[in-house]
Symmetry: C2
Subunit: 316 residues, 2 copies
């Protein structure tokens, strides 16, 4: 299959957007932004052996995860996702079927949100499969929610349950795009982030950017079944996994006490999506109030970035 | 060096843009597009051993090439470049110095054009160095120049000289951003592309998108000194290299006869930047009129994309 027919294949497969002026196949793609104020952009790169393992998942799963993790970043700003460019480095002698399955995985998720693949680059190398997706978004009349707006006495909410995502959720999660937009549209959200590094690690990003501290209540942390399951294998507690495992892609939300109550009671979220797990305090760092009543400082733990050896992962 | 200090290092190093609302360090970057009509987007991925060879060039060179090749794509639309996101997969145990040199290379080029790095992702894997840059651009009141507007009797112009870029120009080229914008602003350009795959291969992209053919004049093709030099080694003619070598990153411009004359004589380009190398004809494919007078059909040749084995490179 030549480049031209591969582009034709892509053009025909996907749902098109009306604001895409030039899609795949020219020097640049062009998006009509005349009715937008802001253009959001986020990117994620994933490589076989680090972010996924092709011995344990399909290439279609990889496509799903690669686009969904980007959508989760747009969700964390409370904005809309629009279009993506997809770059892939395939191992040498990759089959056409394998390549197409990657795109099928991307569309499994992208079509649901009417995200169009408007460009990309396909290369091959003496390299494991490496995929880099850049996703664009727009404000849709809303203000993007930053990490830096947390205030003392704010409440800390979280969606879903946490921990043990490695047992499956890290591939098969649903990005909280709908929730992010609803929160931004109907409430005043002070800060928000998606939990990709781990609850305490991502909470710590908010705390550092906002120059505040936090206290968490042990008995409110929504520990997942997967966290309980994996705890049996690792010897750590389920709570440990809920606090430090990455890639749950849930939302961590910082709101005033009044707004927190409104969010939790809102008919917009009939499924009891949110749990209040703590509050923002002055000072720095994270403390945990245990069920027994004592309070202890805990270290943000999770997927650690750009360590001294520069041998880990860090999203900029 | 932790992630936070690496982000700080990046924040301090680069020239900032006023339209960047949120730069590096949040879930998404945010660009103010309220005064733009169109947002351009292009992406290039490069891997060690295929697009560059770290045994023969520095990692700083790699950074330069990675951003410059993207700028060349925006140049080929005749528009302005604004901001970039940079994703890198470093081989395991990469040093901090090596990583920083890559960014220094990017800024060597980006700062010249006031392009700000507003986000990215840094990972590591059991993989050769792989870099993926996505560049955004804006219309600046101009209409992006597509590949599809070539008309019968139009002239074919090209900037610079061609061939043998592998001897150095493929790393150390200057993207023709200034020329692209000037052409778009002051003339009516029917179609434009940058020569990354090779003259005949890229011309063929225009011909296919525009449903026309072309005739080239042998004695007008601007054969570079590098093409002559490399021809001595390969046994091919210098002309062969000028026609088929990739990565010269010159512009190939399709204009009416009247506009061609104006471009060639314009004071905007005092350096005699352009050569007229042929014209657009009806039918399909490329023919060459040789200096001796005979005309022969030639096959578009160059860096071939997405071959049957899916083992080559293809920009979508």
């Amino acid at each position: 299959m030549g480049e031209f027919s591969f582009i034709q294949w892509i053009r025909k497969r996907q749902r098109r957007r009306r604001d895409v002026t030039v899609g795949i196949g020219d020097d640049c793609a062009v998006l009509n932004v005349s009715s937008d104020k802001l253009c959001l952009i986020t990117t994620d790169m994933m490589v076989d052996g680090t972010h996924f393992d092709l011995r344990k998942c399909t290439v279609r799963d990889v496509g799903r995860k690669a686009i969904a993790s980007n959508i989760s970043d747009v969700a964390a700003m409370g904005c809309r996702a629009t279009a993506a460019v997809v770059s892939v480095c395939f191992p040498e002698n990759t089959s056409e079927k394998f390549a197409k399955e990657l795109y099928n995985g991307i569309w499994d998720v992208a079509n649901k949100y009417t995200i169009e693949v408007i460009g990309g680059d396909t290369i091959s190398g003496r390299s494991p499969l490496c995929i880099s997706i850049t996703l664009l978004g727009k404000d849709g009349g809303l203000k993007p929610i930053r990490r830096s707006g947390a205030k003392v006495n704010d409440m800390i909410l979280v969606t879903g349950t946490l921990g043990g995502s490695i047992l499956g959720k890290h591939i098969h999660f649903e990005p909280r795009l709908k929730e992010g937009i609803l929160l931004n549209k109907h409430f005043t959200i002070h800060a928000m982030i998606d939990i990709s590094d781990g609850l305490t690690a991502d909470l710590n990003h908010i705390l550092e950017e906002s120059h505040v501290g936090a206290i968490l209540y042990e008995d409110t942390i929504p520990v997942s079944k997967a966290a309980e399951e994996i705890a049996k294998k690792t010897g750590n507690t389920p709570l440990y996994h809920a606090l430090s495992d990455g890639e749950d892609y849930e939302l961590l939300i910082i709101v005033s006490k009044g707004q927190a109550k409104k969010v939790m009671e809102s008919n917009l979220f009939p499924e009891r999506t949110f749990r209040c797990i703590g509050k923002i305090v002055s000072g720095r760092g994270i403390r945990m109030k245990y069920a027994q009543g004592h309070i202890k400082r805990i270290k943000p733990r999770g997927y650690e970035h750009l360590q001294s050896e520069f041998n880990d992962s860090g999203e900029l």
